[in-house]
């Protein structure tokens, strides 16, 4: 037994970790372990979706073999424990890049499938699952199900975004997208109101593949939020790869370094620096997609009690009013976030029954865990999301009420028929009791 935390570091409960190292023996290893267990990738989800306190975790990081890569078609196949960083390292020199990438390259392919992750190009490319051709799913009874959009499609719809509850993804075959090199042409614009944000988003989605906005949490009290809108496209030439080596936060400070004072100062500075900088530039993909990946274990900055990530989406019809209400609730609480992110999603229907994105606007924030006051704020935010017919992202959740899950994910009941009886997570127990 050893302590395991998710990325939000809200708990350190003991788990029995079974390190899977070969696809061929994984079924036997799972059959031999105590159940229910839970598949565990690289521990980059934030809340309790990847935890199973007191129970078994089947760790997939050792299932890290590539199975095939065709550099004419860009179709790659690998075991579930391969990280997106490894995919990029192999594919980029041959002119390919993940069609969808989240904000860190340290996620495993299995985790990307199980959470059906999205990125800054959702309006163009949808989610990770939209590019998956097939999955090999290992059930705890030892059976294997190969599924894809055209093969056992219901199993596929349940497993993509299925939070690891339908079985252990052993391997995935998915399509990459061609790129001319590692560079991103970027544009940025400061905005001073939500109206301006939506106008910038609407104007950019045709021309730009990647769009995302950062908002200044310190500005919320003054009424309209200000922020920076970023847009990017892959291009064929640009500056060299950054040579700055990655650094590690060496220990967990006894109290969060992220507090009201540092947050306001950081946000104000970040806004000024970005507003003053050039509107157009060409960046290497790493600082563009993964600005936090060079600071290893940055989550320690939130101190020993960890932090909550809140990410919701509200549908287009309600987006402006709901986002305004969410931001006002945050401002009213006096709590704030270092990195607050706002983005509009596209209308593409998602591949999974429980996939998070829908047409509308998503807001993501992180809050240092200050105990009951933080939970009270999160409950308030969940109520706003519920009233606006939105949903909360399970990959980041540790607090949503069961009612919001069922309202936000109307296919949950259908999904539950595909659950593996030998699998359960802290999240599934919190929300539906088993």
């Amino acid at each position: 037994m050893r302590p395991v935390s998710s990325w939000g570091r809200l708990s350190r409960d003991l788990h029995e970790v079974v390190d899977l190292d070969e696809a061929g023996s994984a079924g036997k290893r799972i059959a031999e372990s105590r159940q229910p267990g839970l598949p565990f990738g690289n521990g980059r989800s934030y809340g309790d979706v990847c935890l199973n306190a007191g129970g078994i975790l089947w760790a997939t990081r050792g299932l890290d073999r590539f199975l095939a890569f065709d550099d004419r078609t860009g179709v790659i196949e690998c075991e579930a424990g391969v990280t997106l960083k490894e995919v990029i390292d192999v594919a980029l020199p041959r002119g390919w890049f993940p069609a969808v990438t989240p904000g860190t390259q340290w996620v495993t392919v299995g985790g990307a499938v199980a959470n059906d992750v999205h990125g800054k190009n959702h309006h163009r490319n949808g989610c990770f699952g939209d590019h998956v051709e097939s999955l090999t799913l290992l059930r705890t009874d030892g059976s294997r199900i190969v599924c894809g959009p055209g093969l056992e499609p219901e199993w596929f719809r349940a497993t993509v975004g299925g939070l690891g509850l339908t079985g252990l993804v052993l391997a995935a075959r998915f399509r990459l997208r061609p790129v001319a090199g590692p560079w991103i042409e970027c544009e940025r614009h400061a905005f001073q109101s939500l109206e301006q944000f939506f106008a910038l988003s609407d104007a950019s989605i045709q021309e730009w593949e990647y769009t995302v906005s950062w908002i200044d949490c310190g500005s919320l009290r003054e009424g309209e939020p200000r922020g920076i809108f970023f847009a990017g496209n892959h291009v064929g030439s640009g500056e060299e790869a950054p040579t700055r080596p990655s650094r590690r936060v060496p220990f967990t400070p006894p109290m969060p370094l992220v507090n009201r004072l540092s947050m306001r100062a950081f946000n104000a500075l970040y806004y000024r620096v970005n507003r003053a900088g050039p509107e157009r530039s060409t960046k290497h993909y790493q600082p563009f997609f993964y600005p936090l990946d060079t600071l290893l274990e940055w989550n320690r900055l939130y101190g020993p009690r960890g932090f909550y990530q809140f990410q919701c989406v509200v549908p287009t019809a309600n987006q402006e009013a709901a986002v305004r209400e969410l931001l006002q609730a945050i401002a009213g609480s006096g709590q704030g976030s270092f990195l607050s992110v706002l983005k509009t999603f596209g209308a593409r229907p998602a591949a999974g029954m429980l996939s998070f994105p829908m047409a509308g606007t998503t807001l993501a924030l992180d809050f240092p865990n200050l105990g009951p006051t933080t939970l009270a704020l999160l409950q308030r935010l969940c109520a706003i999301v519920d009233a606006a017919d939105g949903r909360v992202y399970p990959a980041k959740d540790a607090f949503m009420p069961a009612g919001l899950l069922l309202h936000g994910y109307p296919e949950w009941q259908d999904f539950s028929h595909f659950r593996d009886p030998g699998i359960s997570s802290q999240m599934s127990r919190r929300l539906v009791g088993h």
Partner: protein, 246 residues
């Protein structure tokens, strides 16, 4: 960087980590091992990661009469090798091998006898090539017998001494022989051990092995601090050592 590599015991975690480094440098690799399915999975992985060519050969280390044929075929694949890694071995259950002479001797057969047989064959082939490097995985456990794993350690001691002699013999023939002494490595072989700060990842050990095969010399402890830990352990007087629980 060596371009034609032979890896014997290729499904071990350390060996595969070494193979990956050579694959990234576009080397041609022959994987030798006992389990066909696992070898094929590793071969696919190496091809995607950049290997120019990967071949697979099945061999059970204990099947000595089969060695010559498999090794001859492997040498024919790419017209010789620039480097070879001998990485097979088992970690016997010490308690079981104390109760059973059969188990103790079987472990010795796999970890020492078959390695000596293989090294003899490889040494002659590398000698006639007149170039290349042979690395063999030994262990600090072979530096001094300890109650907790002396059956394993005795076999590794044999490997260490054999490799030392081979190095001496081939020194003037353009062939380098490297004795690799990995400390605690977090692999499936040691899955049941409690891990601590002295433990290393297989990728860390692989980095040292690749560097050694490229331009290293002699006995390579990995990570490096094991050289000093073992130097101290060897110096402890026997009267004190017998009382220690290591």
């Amino acid at each position: 960087m060596p371009q034609r590599i032979l890896v014997v015991g290729a499904t071990s975690a350390i060996a595969h980590a070494v193979s990956r480094r050579f694959a990234a440098a576009h080397a041609s690799i022959v994987l030798v091992g006992r389990r066909a399915e696992a070898l094929e999975a590793n071969a696919s992985d190496l091809r995607v990661r950049g290997a120019a060519d990967v071949r697979v050969a099945l061999l059970d280390a204990r099947d000595l009469p089969r060695h010559a044929e498999v090794i001859a075929d492997a040498f024919a694949a790419f017209g010789g090798f620039d480097a070879a890694l001998v990485a097979w071995g088992v970690l016997p259950d010490q308690a079981a091998s104390e109760r059973s002479a059969e188990i103790a001797v079987a472990a010795f057969d796999t970890n020492a006898r078959s390695v000596i047989a293989l090294l003899t064959d490889l040494a002659n082939r590398f000698e006639s090539q007149g170039q290349g490097a042979i690395a063999v995985l030994s262990s600090p456990a072979g530096d001094r017998g300890r109650a907790s794993n002396y059956v394993y350690g005795a076999a590794k001691a044999a490997v260490t001494v054999f490799a030392s002699g081979l190095r001496n013999r081939l020194h003037t023939k353009g062939v380098r022989v490297l004795t690799i002494e990995p400390g605690f490595v977090d692999t499936p072989m040691t899955a049941s051990f409690k891990k601590g700060p002295l433990w290393a990842r297989p990728e860390r050990v692989a980095e040292d092995i690749v560097r050694a095969l490229d331009h290293g010399f002699g006995v390579v402890y990995t990570p490096w601090f094991w050289r000093w830990i073992m130097a101290i352990i060897r110096l402890v007087p026997e009267r004190v050592f017998v009382r220690l629980k290591l």
